[in-house]
């Protein structure tokens, strides 16, 4: 069985051989630096830029979403407003013009009953 000093000696040999084959510090450091995408000094600026970009994108998306929802609702509203029931014609009674129109002062209601080109809509 080995004692501590012999074990230590074996490890020392291993250490020596590793040191001989170790890559230079400058080389390893330079490689690490080249892998560094954004240096630490630029990081706050990057955060601000990316936050601003996110806000702009969200704003554009909101505006687009609103305008598209408006454009899809407007024709539907117009269609509903223009719709007339097919049975509306049954509600028209003789003399309904007299009930629907405001009589002029000093004029006779009978004048409206007389068919003229103007009240016939010509």
């Amino acid at each position: 069985m080995m004692d501590d000093s012999e074990i230590r000696q074996r490890f020392a040999q291993l250490r020596e051989s590793d040191r001989e084959s170790a890559p230079g510090f400058a080389q390893t450091y330079a490689r690490a630096r080249s892998r560094q995408r954004w240096p630490a000094a630029h990081r706050p600026r990057l955060l601000v830029i990316s936050a601003a970009a996110a806000v702009v994108i969200a704003g554009v998306w909101l505006v687009n979403a609103r305008s598209s929802s408006r454009s899809t609702h407007t024709p539907a509203i117009a269609t509903i407003a223009a719709w007339r029931a097919p049975t509306d014609v049954l509600l028209r009674t003789p003399g309904s013009e007299l009930l629907g129109a405001m009589p002029a002062l000093g004029a006779s209601v009978l004048d409206q009953m007389i068919s003229t080109p103007s009240n016939r809509g010509i």
Binding site: M1, R15, D18, R19
Partner: protein, 177 residues
């Protein structure tokens, strides 16, 4: 700690760190270099920050150990995705490169002793291997080794004692042959 001071500190312990990275990567030189670069990158980026609770070297050893473990996990996941045949081809190429190298006579004995130690270390448990490497190779105290390994001092002492006894028997047996 500013960039210049950080660089100086890293340069001072670089060779030692490479040795520890080798130990953490199963003595694979390429993996050790990769791990060391990743560690330096973490330090430069500020992802790994020295808090002065231990010595700089002890702290950096801890970072190397964790990075190597993380790289091992990534490699394992990659291995699941890569076809076995392709992996076999790479291994063949590596072993061919090793076989092609002919060492001079004087180095043969030195290499066999080194390989004997490496072989014996691989037969120990990971914790025993780590504590022995830190104490005998890097001259850390058992307390410092415990800090690097993130275990209690008592646990590190137990691993140290058992590991040393096992290693002594294995190296003694190999010597007797």
């Amino acid at each position: 700690m500013d960039d210049v001071e950080l660089r100086l500190q890293l340069e001072r312990v670089h060779a030692d760190c490479f040795g520890w990275a080798m130990a953490c990567c199963g003595r694979d030189r390429d993996d050790a270099e990769e791990v060391l670069q990743t560690v330096y990158l973490s330090v430069l980026d500020g992802r790994a920050r020295f808090d002065a609770r231990s010595s700089f070297r002890t702290w950096l050893f801890g970072v190397i150990r964790r990075t190597a473990a993380s790289e091992r996990r990534k490699a394992w996941l990659r291995g699941l995705l890569v076809e076995r045949e392709a992996e076999g081809g790479t291994r063949d190429a590596r072993s061919f490169a090793t076989d092609a190298f002919v060492a001079p006579d004087a180095e043969v004995e030195h290499e066999s002793r080194r390989d004997g130690l490496h072989h014996a270390l691989t037969r120990l448990s990971p914790r025993q291997r780590e504590v022995l490497q830190l104490v005998f190779y890097h001259d850390l105290t058992v307390e410092e080794a415990a800090a690097v390994m993130r275990v209690s001092v008592g646990s590190a002492r137990t691993h140290y004692a058992r590991g040393k006894a096992n290693l002594a028997v294995m190296l003694g047996d190999a010597k007797d042959l």
